[in-house]
């Protein structure tokens, strides 16, 4: 039958198995390590914000003064351009046709001036002829008046014809201007960052969602940092600031404050989504940084830390939020 040690042995075995499954079943769950180490602030007390890289000139969204079909795009993305370089042309056939009409009109008006001048000469000769007759009885008073009036009218006609020429010249210039406006030039020197038009597309003169072309001066880049309005009071212009590249915190750069947008604006989502979701307002500060210190591209997001006084340590005369006020 059952040897006397069977049950105690089984029990010891059972307990050992229990302990084993306790140990095995309660091993700590492995911790998933981050793919990239997150950036962290080098300052003990700071404001964190999302920054976006933009060109120093800010990013210029080029528009067109006149709507029309694109005829030619003369630059590519990445082209370095000087101020005044042609960016693109809009279909100018209508304006050219009008130019022809205007030129013909001018020529016609100029011809009309010659005609009027001839008419003035003719009438003056006729008038001088009759005025040379000394015997007043030989000529009728009526004939003299008629010839005098005809000369006056001819002079007025000449003035009118001359005015017509001036008008046609002005009209020609206007058409020429229109023609010039159909060619869009670079307003500043810089780089073409984005081209959203191709020949044959319609370029509206109104402000659209997508700019026709984006220009910027990439010689120096700026970082525009959004600071939550709730943290804005802690922002100090003299505070040091550091930006980290997302995805690799080894790329960091010191920032120099350029200016602070004086107007607090509704947050345009810098964190990815194009549409407005959040009804918070942000203070925007612009910082410059040394381009050589990190491979940053315009439009890229950064994690920015700005040195700021501790939330609880500033303005000792004011009650600490959440303690003195809520108690008592």
């Amino acid at each position: 039958m059952l040897p006397k040690y069977t049950l105690p042995a089984l029990a010891a075995l059972g307990f050992a198995f229990g302990v084993f499954s306790v140990i095995r079943g309660n091993q700590p769950i492995p911790i998933a390590q981050p793919v990239a180490e997150p950036a962290n602030s080098p300052f003990p007390s700071f404001i964190a914000g999302a920054g976006i890289v933009e060109a120093k000139s800010q990013n210029i969204s080029v528009g067109t003064p006149l709507s029309g079909i694109i005829q030619q795009v003369t630059v590519k993305v990445g082209d370095k351009i000087k101020a005044g370089d042609i960016l693109f042309r809009i279909d100018d056939r209508e304006a050219l046709a009008e130019l022809g009409v205007r030129k013909a009109n001018l020529a016609k008006a100029k011809a009309a001036v010659g005609e009027a001048e001839a008419s003035v000469n003719d009438t003056r000769n006729m008038l001088e002829l009759i005025e040379a007759v000394t015997d007043r009885r030989a000529i009728s008073k009526e004939d003299l008046d008629r010839r005098r009036n005809a000369h006056t009218i001819a002079k007025a006609r000449l003035e009118s014809a001359r005015a017509q020429v001036l008008q046609n010249e002005a009209e020609l210039a206007a058409t020429q201007t229109t023609l010039d406006r159909l060619v869009v030039h670079a307003p500043v020197a810089g780089e073409v960052l984005q081209v959203n038009i191709r020949p044959g597309e319609f370029a509206p003169a109104s402000a659209g969602n997508t700019p026709l072309m984006v220009l910027g001066n990439l010689d120096q880049l700026h970082i525009r940092v959004d600071i939550d309005e709730n943290d804005a009071w802690r922002f100090r212009k003299e505070g040091r600031a550091v930006a980290y590249l997302r995805g690799n915190r080894n790329f960091k750069t010191d920032l120099k404050l350029v200016w602070v947008e004086p107007y607090v604006i509704p947050k345009r989502s810098l964190t990815g989504d194009s549409t407005e979701r959040v009804d918070t307002r942000v203070l925007q500060a612009l910082y410059s940084f040394d381009r050589a210190s990190m491979p940053a591209y315009v439009g890229q997001q950064m994690d920015v830390f700005i040195e700021a006084p501790d939330a609880s340590a500033t303005l000792p005369s004011m009650p600490k939020p959440g303690t003195a006020e809520t108690r008592s």
């Binding site: 198995f17 229990g18 079943g25 793919v35 180490e37 997150p38 959040v278 830390f305 939330a311």
Partner: protein, 386 residues
């Protein structure tokens, strides 16, 4: 005398086995039922345990438990980041989204959005693929249980077994395309829904449009930072609730304890197990003593002291207690081992060993006490009566 006590106990095989069976049963019930209970309850916060990296969870102050997501404004992330003592703070999206399967059925999934750059908060164990693969466009990582079961593709043959989801398969999340780039192992959650990991911005794109999308902010404290103090500081300066990982677990656990019938149900079965075990073991042990009363009388007449007899009975009680306890614990562990790959919730922390040990001790002490009382009051003169 100990030898004699043990011989006496084991000599009566029927009773010996009866006592041990009673105690084994009691110990089994008192270990296995709480193990299921603890397993079930720990699923309520398994998501928090799985996410071991952050020290602190920041959320809306009205959040009651992990699945009770009350989204925050995106800028709150930066406010939390700006609190002194915070090493880093990362966004986490957590929401239930409907996945449409190849055969047109819908399955609600737990979608987790991780910070795009660091992918902090990823699954603890990757079975296939890498976490970095989430950076591929439309990439998602699916947990293995979901991939095998709820999100499995219907079989090509009619009535065949569904095929598990593999890397490269596509899913439809809220009418948007998602590609499986990895399979992960996660701890089962309370609702046992499939878990889908993706990046934060992608999760926001998958999710229906809402004004606020940020579910949680995960915070790591600076080394050496006093974490409870930091949680208070975060709460003070942002007005959000900040919990340490343990606090958040406790919050979730407490919610389930208070708002579900689970603790009562298991409490009752554990109590019943204790009572039945105590009744069987106590009764049999007492019977055993009664039956051996004459033998105790003989020993007493021959000059054995009450103290020695008491020690003998205690020894007997301890032995059956240990054996019953060991067998019960062993059977529980066996049960857990057998059920390890099923949907069954089972968790065996060391506290349960102590708990059932305490329960068995209580039963044995109770059984020994009533027996000892009988033996001490015994008049040895009975041995002269035929």
């Amino acid at each position: 005398m100990n030898h004699i006590a043990l011989k006496m106990l084991m000599g009566d095989r029927g009773k010996y086995l009866g006592i041990i069976m009673g105690l084994t049963f009691a110990s089994l019930i008192m270990t296995q039922q709480p193990a299921i209970f603890v397993g079930l309850m720990s699923r309520s916060f398994s998501f928090i345990s799985d996410l071991g990296l952050p020290d602190i969870w920041v959320m809306d102050p009205k959040v009651q438990f992990i699945d009770d997501v009350k989204p925050l404004q995106d800028t709150k992330l930066y406010r939390v980041r700006g609190v002194a003592g915070v090493k880093w703070a990362m966004p986490l999206y957590k929401g239930l989204l409907k996945a449409r399967m190849a055969d047109g059925t819908f399955q609600t999934c737990n979608v987790i959005g991780l910070d795009d750059a660091t992918l902090i908060g990823g699954p603890p164990v990757m079975l296939e693929g890498k976490l970095e693969d989430l950076r591929r466009s439309d990439g998602v990582i699916v947990d293995i249980d979901g991939a095998i079961d709820k999100l499995a593709k219907p079989s090509k043959i009619k009535g065949g077994k569904p095929e598990p989801l593999k890397i490269g398969d596509t899913l439809e999340l809220n009418d948007k395309r998602a590609i499986v780039v990895g399979i992960a192992k996660t701890t089962k959650t309370f609702q046992s829904q499939p878990v889908i990991y993706t990046t934060y911005s992608r999760a926001v794109r998958f999710a229906p449009r809402e004004r606020k999308m940020l579910s949680f902010v995960l915070v790591k404290a600076m080394p050496g930072e006093n974490i409870p103090l930091l949680t208070r500081r975060i709460t003070e300066s942002t007005g959000l609730a900040a919990y340490t990982q343990q606090e958040f677990k406790d919050l979730t656990w407490g919610y389930f304890m208070k708002n579900t019938g689970i603790p009562i149900n298991f409490g009752i079965s554990v109590t019943l197990g204790f009572i039945v075990g105590a009744a069987i073991a106590g009764q049999t042990f007492y019977n055993f003593t009664l039956e051996n009363l004459r033998q105790f009388g003989v020993l007493k007449a021959m000059g054995t002291s009450n103290w020695t007899l008491l020690r003998m009975i205690l020894l007997q009680a301890i032995l059956v207690g240990l054996i019953g306890y060991g067998l019960g614990v062993g059977l529980t562990a066996l049960f857990g081992y057998a059920m390890r790959n099923t949907i069954m919730a089972f968790k065996f922390p060391w506290q349960l060993l102590v708990f059932s040990g305490f329960g068995v001790t209580l039963i044995c002490v109770f059984a020994a006490l009533i027996s000892i009382r009988k033996v001490i009051k015994l008049e040895p003169a009975i041995v002269f009566k035929g």
